[in-house]
Symmetry: C2
Subunit: 356 residues, 2 copies
């Protein structure tokens, strides 16, 4: 840390992303990514003559991508803001709306980045505990007047709140913002995007890193009322006008349009999720009902920390959170069928060793 | 603007990038871009099997790209910070070091983004006038204790300050930061990057949007002491850990390594610049000595505003700044030889019409 860094960052605790070790070839099930390929249309764009024109700046408004997203979600283009991953979208959103005087809240068990953000920017952030059964305590969000950040489905639990419950929070106080992070919405859930036409205090954040198989391209967006989007564009134009480059605009558009391909991929993930859940339950695991591309599991005789270490020894990376309420749970991303069969096979070996 | 936007942004004036009109095919010489292709190595990477793996997150440390940049500039990898364009690098830098209590300064005539930034984030920004001849008043920067932001070469003037002059500013006060934006350094000038090994208050910012023919990929970086880079990475990890996606890491690395290709492109731009300068002078223009990929020109009988409008009618876009001291100057990007021949031909027509 240099002597020049602003005082307010002295307590900065950076977010620790899922590790990317290179010491051997791992089956990576620790960051809710996928080894499935992007849409063939995405790969075509990367090979197209458009790339010869990279000497020119991209459209700073990213209209092509925003139009495609708007059509997919049945909203106006001016209701769409795009960024380099949903993290950047959240970043602009935090910059625009929250400062040292702001009060926000989010669950105690959720995507760790909200807390990192709040700490970095000196925002008064309160963790509202999930209920005993790890579901979101909707009444607590209705009662508080703090701005709300909720991941829905939540991570790492995988639980989904129906749109009517989100709406209860949104209507309860029109003078605070409600940010719903729908990173995992595509795995069989209903989005609350239609509510953005009715309420001007709701922002719905999406990512292409999960269901579009594009974590490595890191494209995210949010949908909200036109006024909120105008704010975000204002901040973006003051911070990084060309934040989306022409490659991400082009491949993002291609991905958004290829719904048929991704529908197939998503169905495969859902099938593999149910297969994995079923198999692990046969081995005595409790597997939380997941509405996402990961599962959150616990076992009566095998501590999650040990399970994680053993999986790693066998070349499989999962995500362990060393946090009080969930220290005996492990989050495992759902990969291809072959990858999940490997998980089951290795798990049975680990359990056998335990008995021996 | 929504009711939720923080009070401090109410006076926000967004940066206006060079326009990207699509009503016809223009020769675009208004944003210091290029119609030259990126390196063939860049295009190869985009077609390679690496792109099949976009389902996985990129290395959040972007080590591959930072290593290539470090080797090119003969510094340590930990002295390199990368971002989505030099604007984003400047953005993180402003977030890290400047707030409402900070005092910064920059020339009255320079890249408009510094002023936009200062206004957006409520930083006390002072414009120090260029001298009568449009050169930087180095003594004024030595005397002030404000943090310094200087573009070198400067835009839109095109003038370059030698490293010894930069060093004078840097040593004059080790307790303030000096940020040197070397966006146009590659067009025949000496970089002050070596000074970063000697001084811990210097940050040198580079972009691949100009001399690497990659405006559309929007990749930038800065080089400074390891402690300053540690600060910037901390902010980045709290704001957008995966800010560089795997595509930009891959093509940025390929571009940095293909020095032979870009050396040729740069030489072509320099040749075209001298050709254009020479031709315009023959037509009575005064052309400031440029150390960049653009020229700044004025004519005794043709007002710059009119010259700009006429060029546009003929399908050529240049950049006019409606600002007091430079309102009779026009900035023209140096393109390919064919594009510059067209500029000269059209200019001669415009001047003929004037006489008629």
């Amino acid at each position: 840390m240099s002597k020049f860094l602003l005082e307010k960052y002295k307590n900065m605790v950076a977010y620790i992303p899922g590790e990317q070790p290179k010491d051997r070839a791992y089956i990576k099930l620790n960051a809710n990514e996928t080894s499935m390929k992007p849409s063939p249309k995405v790969l075509e764009v990367l090979k197209s003559s458009r790339m010869n024109g990279l000497g020119h700046y991209a459209d700073p408004d990213a209209k092509e991508l925003r139009t495609a997203i708007a059509e997919l979600n049945d909203v106006a283009m001016n209701q769409v803001f795009v960024g380099n991953g949903s993290d950047e979208v959240l970043g602009f959103l935090f910059l625009a709306y929250f400062n040292e005087q702001s009060k926000i809240c989010y669950p105690d068990i959720t995507y760790g980045f909200y807390q990192v953000f709040a700490k970095t920017f000196g925002i008064n952030g309160k963790q509202i505990p999930l209920k005993e059964d790890f579901t979101v305590d909707v009444d607590a969000y209705v009662k508080t007047n703090r701005h709300v950040i909720l991941a829905n489905p939540n991570a790492p639990t995988g639980y989904y709140l129906p749109v009517s419950e989100i709406e209860r929070i949104v209507v309860s106080n029109p003078n605070r913002l409600v940010v719903i992070d729908e990173a995992y919405i595509d795995y069989g859930n209903e989005s609350c995007i239609p509510l953005t036409k009715k309420y001007d205090n709701l922002i719905v954040v999406h990512t292409m890193s999960k269901s579009k198989n594009l974590a490595g391209a890191h494209i995210g967006y949010c949908i909200a009322s036109e006024k909120l989007i105008e704010d975000l564009n204002g901040i973006k134009y003051s911070f990084n006008p060309y934040s989306m480059n022409d490659i991400t605009i082009a491949i993002g558009t291609a991905a958004i349009k290829d719904t048929a391909y991704y529908k197939k991929c998503i169905q495969e993930i859902i099938n593999n999720r149910e297969y994995t859940k079923c198999e692990l339950e046969r081995y005595g695991f409790t597997v939380l009902d997941s509405a996402t591309n990961f599962i959150f599991v616990t076992h009566p005789n095998l501590h999650a920390r040990e399970y994680n270490a053993k999986l790693r020894e066998h070349g499989i990376l999962a995500r362990y959170f060393d946090s009080e309420r969930i220290q005996n749970y492990l989050r495992i991303t759902i990969g291809t069928r072959q990858e999940m069969e490997q998980v089951i096979m290795v798990t049975s070996l680990i359990l056998e060793e335990l008995v021996a």
